[in-house]
């Protein structure tokens, strides 16, 4: 049970966290976990990313899930968000590609062009 005041505080805190510059994270990796995504292997992809991130001891990345955003035929879809840059949407991902994405994009800061299906400002 929360009071209105407490709810407002939670809201403000969450708003801050959603803006990466106010958090400790440089990257936010968002895995599309709707029915289509899961059917195409999004759970395994998510697990692979989490494993890769923890094995490499990467601290500046927040891995989270969301629903479908569109492009259902290209699931599993992953967004990589970095403050002040276009959102990179990777499509048709699988476990191997997800691991490579962590190594290339998150560790080395290099976008893997051949996996990109869309970029949004």
């Amino acid at each position: 049970m929360k009071t209105l005041e407490e709810l407002r505080k939670i809201r403000e805190k969450a708003q801050g966290e959603m803006k990466l510059r106010e958090s400790d994270y440089r990257y936010k990796v968002v895995v599309g976990m709707g029915t289509s995504g899961i059917a195409m292997g999004a759970r395994e992809v998510m697990k692979a990313i989490l494993e890769e991130v923890s094995q490499r001891g990467i601290k500046n990345v927040l891995v989270t899930q969301t629903g479908e955003k569109g492009l259902s035929s290209l699931e599993p879809v992953i967004d990589v968000i970095e403050e002040g840059r276009p959102v990179i949407t990777y499509g048709n991902m699988d476990v191997a590609k997800a691991r490579k994405m962590v190594a290339e994009h998150i560790v080395n800061g290099k976008v893997i062009n051949e996996y990109v299906v869309s970029t949004t400002n």
């Binding site: 709810l7 939670i10 809201r11 989270t64 051949e114």
Partner: protein, 521 residues
């Protein structure tokens, strides 16, 4: 370490192996050797390059060019043009223009504004995205009748198919004095090809809950039920998480925010009958009875669940409410066109490049939806028809591609917006087969309560089955129309009243398909 000026990655997977990737690779090595390039250009085998339906593909660095659908004869040209002369071969390069600038239309989204952005299992993220601000605003500053007026002024119409004005529906129930009123959410999305409600519930369950809360407050209901189809396991799971979190935060419960208003929300799982999308059949099923429609009046607004005043609304309808209350009716009505305000979520499937979902303003043309949001027709196929609105929808032909998709414009062509399913068909599809499939569905789903529907759907199927098997007569077409028109006038509920729409539109727009089958002897 040897230095190469260029690297070629060849994708090896089942599809490319079947397309003869090994032979092509050998040929490529051979050609490079012949041209004395093997010391400059390195060839590597890798896993799938991730492009589906593109046969043998390879990626060339440093240009980062992807060649797709390679044939043996292409290799000579690529070696000559690209590796000798340095001019990538445009003809074979993967076209990424479809998705490169793909616009998800988030700027105009209302219902799916958070789907694909926030974590649906985390209430804090919903709060952070401005969630439950409308609920707070309503409970602390608004009277119930002000909510009803706001929704009326917004012009929001029911998104389940029939398009009844939502505010008007609420205004029937709100003034009734009763010891108990209910809000029931129709989440029994049964129209074939429709999955918009699933996207809303699994992508942003709290938005639905907030819509339910606002509706309950507006009409004075202290209990709400979400009647959801059993197949939607992920939706059920996420709704359960969302309800529990809302209870924990005191957003649901007794004396919410000290306003004195009590509300709780429960989930009822349906067992998958098309007729249970009809609101009175849904209520019967929810009460634990056989899911067959009730006689109206009394309408559910007066005597619904357990004979108490009940508002039954579709998921998408309710998911629009938080934005209306938060931003006002005027803001909402700035989306869409006259008579059809707001946005519409469409699920697009069939012979298009990018099947999936989109949310666009009401009144967007079918052509725009197909071109801009579904990537256009699959290469080499031309548009023939679109089934809009599911089984109880209509077949549109290419002359209607530029019709604005809103309630009034479609009505001019005896078409309906329906549930928002768009099945796009190319010239490879035969309308006899399509209509056969639609009528088989109706026959299977008729609940059997009234004669016109139970006998009618069986007769319709028999007629189309005869035509499909080449045993049809010219008069069968008139018979199909006559029977379905009779059903429209005499059936008990919308199930039996609907087959006339796909039948008339299929026969009128694509008569030649039927005549061809009939005349094959």
């Amino acid at each position: 370490m040897k230095f190469y000026r260029s690297h070629i990655l060849i994708g090896i997977d089942d599809a490319s192996l079947a397309a003869g990737v090994k032979e092509i690779e050998a040929l490529l090595r051979n050609e490079l050797q012949k041209n004395n390039l093997s010391d400059e250009i390195n060839i590597l085998e890798t896993g799938t390059l991730g492009h589906f339906g593109t046969g043998v593909s390879m990626l060339v660095y440093p240009e980062q060019v992807t060649y797709v659908n390679l044939k043996k004869e292409d290799i000579f040209e690529i070696v000559e043009e690209h590796f000798l002369k340095g001019r990538p071969l445009q003809r074979l390069i993967l076209d990424r223009s479809l998705t490169q600038n793909y616009d998800f239309n988030y700027k105009r989204r209302i219902v799916l504004s958070n789907s694909g952005v926030i974590d649906p299992e985390n209430i804090d993220e919903y709060l952070g995205a401005g969630g439950y601000e409308a609920w707070e605003k309503a409970l602390t500053t608004m009277k119930p009748n002000e909510l009803v007026d706001e929704v009326k002024a917004s012009g929001l119409k029911g998104r389940g198919g029939a398009g009844f004005p939502a505010g008007l529906k609420w205004s029937f129930t709100a003034p009734i004095v009763a010891d108990q009123k209910y809000v029931v959410v129709n989440a029994d999305e049964g129209e074939p090809g429709t999955f918009k409600d699933r996207l809303i519930m699994e992508g942003d369950p709290h938005k639905l809950l907030e819509g339910v809360m606002l509706c309950a407050y507006a009409i004075g209901a202290s209990k709400a039920y979400i009647y959801i189809r059993g197949e939607y396991k992920l939706c059920i799971h996420r709704l359960e998480i969302a309800i529990a979190a809302a209870r924990e935060y005191g957003i649901l419960g007794n004396n919410i925010f000290g306003s004195g208003f009590d509300l709780d929300i429960f989930i009822k799982v349906g067992a998958g009958a098309y007729v249970c999308g009809e609101e009175t059949a849904l209520i019967e099923s929810m009460e634990g009875n056989r899911g067959t429609p009730r006689s109206k009046p009394p309408f559910p607004g007066v005597a619904g669940a357990w004979q108490k005043p009940t508002v039954v609304n579709n998921v998408e309808t309710l998911a629009n409410i938080p934005a209306i209350i938060k931003n006002g009716a005027k803001w909402f009505a700035a989306h869409g066109v006259d008579g059809s305000t707001g946005t519409k979520v469409y699920t697009i499937m069939g012979d298009v490049n990018l099947p999936g979902l989109c949310e666009v303003d009401m009144g967007t043309s079918l052509r725009t939806i197909i071109q801009q949001y579904a990537g256009g027709m699959i290469e080499g196929r031309t548009f023939k028809a679109a089934l809009v609105g599911g089984a109880a929808g209509v077949f549109l032909n290419d002359t209607l591609l530029d019709v604005h998709m809103d309630y009034n414009s479609l009505r001019e062509y005896a078409a309906v917006l329906g549930s928002g399913a768009i099945l796009v068909m190319s010239d490879t599809v035969d309308m006899v087969d399509m209509l056969w499939s639609v009528l088989r569905f109706f026959r299977h789903e008729s609940c059997g309560k009234c004669n016109p529907c139970s006998k009618g759907t069986a007769l319709l199927f028999k007629l189309i089955d005869g035509i499909r098997k080449g045993k049809g007569k010219d008069s069968d077409l008139e018979q199909l129309i006559k029977v379905s028109n009779g059903m429209q006038k005499t059936s008990f509920c919308a199930l039996g009243q609907s087959p006339c729409m796909p039948i008339a539109s299929a026969i009128n727009n694509f008569r030649q398909d039927f005549l061809t089958r009939i005349n094959v002897k």
